[in-house]
């Protein structure tokens, strides 16, 4: 079996959501190392900390206090060092326009937040599995788009 871990970073201000995500990741077959930050400012501080292991994949809540997911996305995309991080946006909004806008701004995955745990787990499994394929098969990240 593969022994490599996927490093996941989650930025979300909602306590319940964070717990939800954490639990879902624990049940996924692929080994993940999950770190959590509570808002956009904390996220950018975390990423810029010297010597940290950058996440393979970042889950970004759109609505966060202090600094929104959209602002973070824009900032991250401007920093070359972060170019390999797959960015997953999740939000309660499912408007086609919002989705397309986040993709244009450089997001890789857009998740419409589900209401139940089983669906969330299924979605996260799918995201992590596909990202794993990108990671291990050298697929082109610049055209990695997924909307769930």
């Amino acid at each position: 079996m593969q022994s490599e871990q996927i490093y996941v970073l989650l930025a979300d201000d909602d306590v319940d959501d964070r717990l939800f995500f954490k639990e879902a990741f624990e049940e996924i077959k692929i080994k993940t190392n999950v770190q959590i930050v509570k808002d956009g400012v904390e996220l950018m501080d975390y990423l810029k900390k010297p010597g940290i292991k950058l996440p393979h994949i970042l889950f970004l809540d759109l609505n966060m206090p202090r600094k929104s997911g959209m602002e973070c996305l824009k900032e991250i995309k401007e920093i070359d060092q972060f170019k390999d991080i797959a960015i997953v946006i999740y939000s309660t909004s499912a408007s086609e326009q919002d989705i397309e806008q986040t993709f244009v701004k450089g997001a890789n995955v857009y998740i419409k937040k589900p209401n139940d745990f089983a669906t969330l787990k299924k979605i996260l499994t799918e995201v992590i599995t596909i990202n794993w394929q990108y990671h291990t098969s050298g697929l082109d990240r610049s055209t990695f788009l997924l909307s769930l």
Partner: protein, 186 residues
């Protein structure tokens, strides 16, 4: 004169491994004892050569045989989808089994065990990747792309694309084009 030497076996092995991997010009990180992350994508052939070279020092890549075969399966699928002008007309299972010299059942089980996905899903993923490439060059119509990738119709292609990415081919094309325009404007 007789000297008594004490050595740290972990340190010695690590140093030796570093020297060898440096010599092979690999982009790597030693993660812990007995675990190395290679950041380049290695072909099955290259992996075999590395394993052979390291073998001289008593270092062996574990599970190499199976890993190599998995890599070979991936290579064969990618070659089939990307290099050849049109996909083989025989069944893909037959093509792979013929090419690799193992039964399809064996190949398929091994693949699932090592990659967290099935061969079928991997093929779809690669076909969609190829389609994305073709879409972003803006040279072929969706109908031509569907034809090239062996879909029975453009509707079938669009459906599979939507299932795999959540986006229609035209939405995908629009997003990529907008991204490009945005980069040019900046």
């Amino acid at each position: 004169m007789k000297l008594f030497i004490k050595y740290d076996i972990n340190k010695a092995c690590k140093k030796l491994l570093e020297e060898q991997l440096d010599k092979m010009e690999l982009n790597y990180a030693i993660l812990g004892f007995g675990e190395v992350e290679i950041k380049d994508n290695l072909s099955a052939e290259r992996l075999k050569v590395i394993n052979n070279d390291l073998g001289d020092y008593g270092i062996e890549i574990l599970e190499t045989q199976k890993n190599i075969l998995v890599q070979k399966i991936k290579d064969a699928i990618i070659e089939m989808i990307f290099m050849e002008d049109s996909l083989p007309s025989s069944k893909i299972s037959f093509y792979l089994s013929e090419k690799l010299g193992y039964s399809y059942g064996y190949i398929s089980n091994l693949f699932s065990e090592y990659t967290y996905t099935s061969i079928e899903n991997f093929i779809i993923l690669q076909k969609i990747e190829r389609a994305k490439q073709l879409i972003t060059t803006n040279e072929l119509t969706f109908t031509e792309i569907a034809w090239k990738l062996n879909y029975s119709s453009v509707a079938h292609f669009s459906t599979q694309f939507k299932n795999a990415t959540g986006l229609t081919p035209s939405a995908f094309q629009r997003i990529i084009n907008k991204r490009r325009t945005a980069t040019i404007e900046e």
